[in-house]
């Protein structure tokens, strides 16, 4: 696995990468990218996986001027340019799914296929995206798991510095997605003009993003909606199930 930093529009972005094959860029959720995970490693067996920490998250620089997710997705597009190569597939978890969808809406030529896992970004027709700002950052992270033991393990693996990292990541989310809370009213309309093949995955025990949000994505993009086990953070709870779904959809 290679770790490097790439400057984009004056912001240093922290990137992890490994594997050979078609490019697959993975965008993390609003709690950040806690290193190179089992899901990254498995997908790197078939793909050239690129896993950046989004601008303002983890060790990436924070562009203080950034005020919305559409502009964040523009920076991610510029990162994609800077890394060169053919257009590839994109996988986004939760908030990262929103970023990937914004990117697909604004730069469809960069995207061959789109996998959105419990994506935020659309106002749910039914239910609500849980308001993380009403609870402590660690409690929000816990709510992402349906299985307490997996949460405890993931938290312990990360060790010291986790609280400060979660806090920094939440601050960036606050800066760009406070109001409307975790969605963009224009996005579903734009997505109707996106013809990229899409797979929407929704975690059955997701306590943060309601199923209706995933359905709205499916309706806007015309893709397929698949359910997987686990909570909102199923990439930790059911990484193999999610990886299999992604591999089958992307074709390998």
């Amino acid at each position: 696995m290679h770790a490097f930093r790439q400057a984009v529009a004056g912001t240093e972005i922290d990137v992890l990468s490994d594997g050979v094959g078609p490019r697959l860029t993975i965008l993390h959720r609003d709690t950040g990218r806690a290193g190179w995970t089992g899901l990254h490693a498995r997908l790197a067996k078939h793909f050239h996986v690129i896993a950046p920490s989004l601008p303002g998250y983890d060790a990436s620089g924070r562009p203080d001027w950034l005020r919305n997710v559409a502009d964040l997705s523009a920076l991610v597009g510029m990162l994609d340019d800077a890394l060169e190569g053919e257009p590839g597939a994109w996988l986004g978890h939760g908030f990262g799914g929103w970023v990937a969808a914004e990117l697909a809406a604004r730069s469809p030529a960069r995207v061959t296929k789109l996998v959105l896992h419990s994506p935020m970004g659309i106002r749910p027709p039914e239910g609500e995206i849980f308001d993380q700002f009403l609870i402590e950052a660690e409690d929000y992270a816990r709510l992402g798991f349906s299985d307490q033991a997996t949460y405890d393990r993931q938290r312990a693996d990360e060790g010291e510095g986790r609280s400060a990292r979660l806090d920094r990541n939440r601050e960036m989310t606050t800066r760009i997605a406070w109001k409307p809370a975790m969605f963009d009213l224009g996005l579903p309309h734009l997505l109707r003009g996106v013809s990229v093949p899409a797979l929407i995955a929704w975690s059955r025990d997701d306590a943060i993003v309601p199923r209706s949000c995933a359905e709205a994505y499916r309706d806007a993009l015309g893709g397929r909606l698949a359910e997987i086990a686990g909570g909102h953070m199923a990439e930790y709870e059911a990484p193999d199930a999610l990886a299999t779904l992604v591999e089958d959809f992307l074709g390998c």
């Binding site: 609870i135 939440r170 606050t174 800066r175």
Partner: protein
């Protein structure tokens, strides 16, 4: 010395059970005891509140009659501990119902305003209606206020600074002109109401310990009002304020130093202690300030400042501890005056805000405390202030 009367205007018609029970209608994030922000307003009875507003306004009138120099008003949202949902509304009422006292706003929550020019208009109206009695304090507003008003806490300080600049300009620079800032955009600024006081009403800045806010106040020459801070913190604040003032080019004095203290006075010590427990019940045990993520949401201040604050709140909660540290001044008039003398001698404020009534204290007891202050506390405190040269 300028002495003001303050009460949070608590919604004192609540029962203790309301705070601790969970109900099917509660917000999914609510835990027992979470009574700020998401304690359901099903428990708000407008009939009881109408009576309470009338009582508070009568108490303000009495404060003027017994010799207070000012009435301090403030603003909070979604919180049973304060019924003042709009500071300019209560300021207008005080302006109409009193003749002499200063109307001390501590303060206008600038970042929560999307149109600070409207605030410039409202405060100008209050200044004229009160015949120039307005003190237009300004605050960043606490974290919970950002949530209640859905204002992005990450830009709180930026909005505070920009709204301040826009407010001062709207008060002082004839329009029409245009404002295109980072957070505020006004096509035409030309308010048809400007303040009676020139160049504008006095601006005071209250706070707790935020270094940046103290620096802001001192660098603008605005009095800073310590909100019931400990003796140690208060002295540290004045040290920093004086240093910044000197760097800015003026010598800070008592006229720049404000102090708000819970001062609970009664004929007997026993009664004063009982009333003091009401204070704590509302501000501590009942209404609480418990959730760190509401008090100081991510982005509102630094991670270190926020985690330190949570530890501080926990340590300062008992009545005995607060009386010992002097952050609650409780007792008979003689006892209270002695304790206030200690504060005045040690910290030398020229602006004093006394906060005698809170919690579920009934109207008669509140009136009684105000009368007693007027008869037996204010004259002595003013005399001490003169002895010590504490001028406002």
């Amino acid at each position: 010395m300028l002495i003001s009367y303050f009460t949070e205007q608590p919604y004192s018609a609540l029962s203790a059970e309301d705070a601790w029970d969970l109900h099917p209608f509660d917000h999914m994030a609510r835990r027992p005891g979470d009574n700020v922000l998401i304690h359901s307003n099903r428990f708000f009875d407008p009939v009881a509140a109408s009576r309470l507003y009338a009582e508070r306004i009568r108490e303000y009138e009495l404060a003027e009659e017994v010799g207070f120099d000012g009435v301090m008003v403030n603003e909070h949202h979604n919180a049973p501990f304060c019924m003042q949902a709009r500071i300019t509304v209560m300021s207008s009422v005080v302006a109409a119902r009193t003749k002499r006292v200063k109307i001390v706003q501590l303060g206008n929550p600038l970042p929560t305003w999307d149109n600070p020019v409207q605030l410039a208009e409202e405060t100008a109206m209050i200044d004229m209606i009160s015949n120039g009695r307005l003190v237009a304090g300004i605050v960043r507003a606490g974290g919970a206020e950002q949530l209640a008003n859905n204002v992005n806490p990450a830009y709180n300080r930026e909005r505070f600074h920009e709204a301040h600049d826009l407010l001062i300009k709207a008060w002082t620079v004839p329009g029409p002109w245009r404002w295109e800032g980072e957070h505020y955009h006004q096509r035409i600024v030309n308010p048809w109401a400007v303040p009676l006081q020139k160049p504008h009403p006095p601006v005071w800045v209250p706070g707790i310990t935020s270094k940046e806010t103290i620096e802001f106040a001192a660098s603008h020459g605005y009095p800073y009002v310590c909100l019931n801070t400990s003796m140690e913190d208060t002295k540290r604040i004045w040290g920093l304020y004086d240093k910044i003032a000197a760097e800015t080019g003026f010598a800070a004095g008592p006229q720049h130093r404000g102090y708000l203290v819970r001062c609970i006075v009664a004929e007997t010590e026993e009664k004063a202690l009982r009333n003091a427990r009401e204070h704590l019940w509302m501000s501590g045990e009942f209404a609480g300030f418990g959730r760190p993520t509401w008090i100081a949401p991510t982005g509102y201040s630094s991670f270190e400042a926020r985690t330190g604050r949570a530890a501080m709140d926990k340590a300062n909660s008992s009545l005995e501890g607060q009386i010992e540290r002097g952050t609650m001044v409780v007792g008979t008039p003689e006892q209270v005056v002695a304790r206030l003398r200690w504060w005045l001698e040690e910290t030398r404020p020229g602006l004093l805000m006394l906060w005698p009534n809170d919690g579920r204290l009934d109207h008669e007891s509140s009136l009684e405390a105000i009368r007693l202050m007027g008869e037996a506390v204010l004259p002595s405190v003013k005399k001490i202030a003169r002895e010590l040269g504490l001028y406002d």
